[in-house]
């Protein structure tokens, strides 16, 4: 039982990384119906920016918590700008084009980010600096361990989720986003600046992916230019699992996927982990095509 709970805790900390990336997918898909394959690579870029800013700031002799916060903010800001420019340069010219053309472009952007990364940074993995000292706590005197890192990850995720929830529910941009995802044309008629709303969506999604990147670097201590591919796909699976377009769905999907994966690994099937993730995806799609939290939209005749 304790072992199970231990794995559950580990699973939640992996899952919150998926959840953060999945939010970006789900928001972009909800608004322009595009599977943004480049999202996993924005996560990678965010991780690298986090790495370099953390190194630089730590050398400047700042206290660890400030280093962490500052590198998170720097990484999120630059990645948000990256997300906006990707949308402006690659996706916007295709807005009236076919879905498949947009999808191919997304794949192209994904390759471009990955291999520009390889060209600049080299293909080898780089070590992520230890920003915070890792401490281990025992829950209620039992043998269940919680690392300070895991607490920090969970805290960051929860705070970011709350901020996102606030933005989407109560700000003007958030209301515009919901309106656009409901009906683009009607939103435009109501005077909403659709282009700006889409840019904002990309900015927020990319910032969340960058935060996930920094957290990922701190957890696994190793980053490389191709690291975005698998977490990107998994996060997408998480988004579909929860019901694409739904923000709580992305959160639940991410946590669920992370937990299932960790439990599978702990049972000794770690090489089957990715396969199980996709099998879960297919089962969900077959039995509940719109995901756990998705609305079932009837096709119009």
């Amino acid at each position: 039982m304790e072992y199970f709970i231990q794995q559950l805790i580990n699973g939640i900390s992996v899952g919150s990384i998926y959840a953060l990336i999945a939010l970006g997918y789900t928001m972009v898909y909800g608004i322009i119906k595009l599977i943004n394959f480049a999202h996993g690579d924005v996560f990678m870029v965010g991780s690298f920016i986090g790495l370099y800013s953390a190194k630089y700031l730590a050398n400047a002799g700042l206290p660890p918590i400030v280093v962490l916060l500052l590198s998170l903010i720097i990484s999120m800001t630059i990645s948000a700008l990256l997300g906006i420019s990707i949308e402006r340069l690659a996706y916007k010219p295709l807005r009236k084009s076919t879905r498949i053309a947009a999808l191919i472009t997304a794949i192209g952007v994904s390759f471009l980010l990955e291999y520009t990364g390889v060209l600049i940074l080299g293909p080898q993995a780089k070590g992520f600096p230890d920003i915070m000292d890792k401490k281990q706590y025992h829950l209620f005197g039992s043998s269940i361990q919680v690392e300070s890192n895991q607490i920090m990850i969970l805290l960051t995720t929860i705070i970011l989720m709350l901020v996102l929830q606030y933005i989407v529910r109560y700000t003007k941009t958030g209301k515009a986003m919901r309106a656009v995802s409901f009906d683009v044309e009607a939103a435009r008629l109501m005077g909403i600046n659709v282009d700006r709303t889409i840019s904002a969506t990309f900015a927020i999604g990319s910032a969340l992916a960058a935060a996930a990147g920094v957290i990922f670097g701190m957890t696994y201590n190793s980053v490389d230019p191709l690291m975005g591919v698998m977490p990107g796909l998994k996060a997408f699976v998480a988004a579909v699992l929860g019901g694409i377009g739904s923000i709580p769905g992305a959160l639940v999907g991410g946590l669920l996927l992370g937990t299932v994966e960790t439990e599978i690994s702990s049972l000794g099937f770690s090489s089957w982990r990715d396969g199980v993730a996709f099998a879960v995806l297919i089962l969900i799609l077959i039995f509940r095509p719109s995901g756990l939290f998705g609305k079932n939209v009837r096709e119009k005749v």
């Binding site: 898909y29 322009i32 119906k33 599977i35 690659a90 010219p93 295709l94 807005r95 009236k96 084009s97 076919t98 879905r99 498949i100 053309a101 947009a102 999808l103 191919i104 472009t105 794949i107 192209g108 952007v109 994904s110 390759f111 471009l112 990955e114 291999y115 520009t116 390889v118 060209l119 796909l233 997408f236 699976v237 579909v240 090489s271 089957w272 990715d274 396969g275 996709f278 099998a279 995806l281 297919i282 799609l285 077959i286 095509p289 096709e299 005749v301």
Partner: protein, 322 residues
Amino acid sequence: MKKINNKFWLGILTAFAFYGIVKVLLTTEILSDVNQSMLLLIGVNIMLAVSLNLITGITGQFSIGHAGFMSVGAYTSAILTLDYNVPFIPAILAGGLLAAVFGVLIGMPTLRLNGDYLAIATLGFGEIIRIIMLNTEFVGGASGLSGIPAKTTWTMLFFFTLISVVLINNFIRSTHGRACIAIRENEIAAEAMGINTTRYKIIAFTIGALFAGMAGGLSAHTFYVITPGSFNFLKSFEIIVMVVLGGLGSTAGSIVGAVFVTLLYTYLREFPEWRMIIYSIVLILMMIFRPSGLLGVSKFSFGKFGKKEAKANDAIKSSGTP
């Protein structure tokens, strides 16, 4: 009708002329090794692209798992020739058939999904096949199979490619092919016209998988080694890229796309660090400036954001009907 037939025989004649020229070049050993293997790769890629075009371009079902079918064919035929000494042609056919069986198995449950969801499900299936291969010791696990006899000759490859292109093209022109095109254009209308959409989608999936499997077998017997990693979703993307660059829905386009992508890949090999970057920029620019592909004839969409329906909507709006 007459005109189509003339075009058909002209195509066959051109193909044979090309075959003869290459055969002469091969026997006189003018072609370098690199160009030889590139020729074989082009043939394999043509089969892959044409078979995916049947699924995606003609029937309108977006599949990102084509490499999965390819790997089933590659592994089956390689194991048959390696461990059971089965002759080359039956081994390739067996690989294709098993892939077709997988096509039916995957097609049945997933084809109820449409658009993006089908794409994701097929991507998932492709990855699952890869992971099963990766974890099965019988097929070599992560290190894959090696020492596969290099039995794919130019003649073999040429005839396999020619036959698959002709068969698929004739299928597209048949009644069944028309039914598939109807499904692509409007599934609900097709259903209302009495077309059994599920059946045709499964047929398209199965035929596509059959030829992808054979292409996999041929490529396994060209390059000595197969590993699960060579059939990941990047390979599936590559096949999609060929079809889309050539022009969705056009067989000639798929062939041109396959040749173009293979040439681009081979000649950029000298600049490994720039290869993928140039490749991706070509992709993006192509989609922005010529989304219908090099030889694209038809534009169609997978959803309500497509051009065609947008145009139709505009027409409805301007005519004033609600």
